[in-house]
Amino acid sequence: MKKLFAAVAFAGLLLCEACSPTVKVKHQVEPIFITVEVNIRVQKELEDFFDFEKKIENQNQQ
């Protein structure tokens, strides 16, 4: 009898666990942050490299 009660209780527990809603939240902030950081670094490198464009344009305007 005890065994049957234990089995029913265990089955009930499994059923509760199976039916309980679970929400999985994926942590996606990090890759976006890394991409933005890389793009900012790339933009900075490009701005530094192409600063001669602004200088030439300023010279032409004067």
Partner: protein
């Protein structure tokens, strides 16, 4: 004692190699900058005359098929793109990304700085002026 000397020698060589690589990268960048600086007025003129435009991948291209036969224009586009490719690879190495990402970022930078009349090639391979692209973007 012998092991320590060997270790120091190996470490010294490694440092020497690393600094040589850094200098080489910077030197290459400086050389590219000088070449692009010299070429810049010609590139601007070709853009003003609607001969060349910018692609979404950060390279220049001749717009009209008839102009693709003009040697000076062809040479201008080829040399400009060769330098850009090399530059994108160097910056990609420095920032731990790919040359493609750097090229696309440069395309965005160029678009921001461009005159409204300049031509840009979209991902659909069609040429449009900047003002038209902006108008399309507003409509959407």
């Amino acid at each position: 004692m012998k092991i320590r000397v060997q270790f120091c020698a190996a470490f010294g060589l490694l440092l020497l190699f690393m600094s040589a690589t850094l200098v080489t990268g910077q030197e290459a960048k400086d050389q590219i900058r000088e070449r692009m600086k010299e070429r810049y007025p010609a590139v601007v003129q070709a853009k003003t005359e609607d001969k060349i435009g910018e692609t979404a991948l950060g390279y220049v291209e001749i717009i009209a098929e008839k102009d693709a036969k003009i040697d000076s224009l062809k040479k201008l586009a080829i040399t400009e793109n060769a330098d850009r490719k090399q530059l994108y690879e160097i910056i990609a190495g420095d920032t731990k990304t790919t040359a493609e990402v750097v090229g696309k970022q440069n395309a965005l930078r160029v678009f921001e700085r461009a005159e409204d009349s300049e031509y840009f090639k979209g991902e659909d391979n069609k040429w449009r002026r900047k003002k038209d692209l902006k108008a399309e973007e507003k409509e959407q």
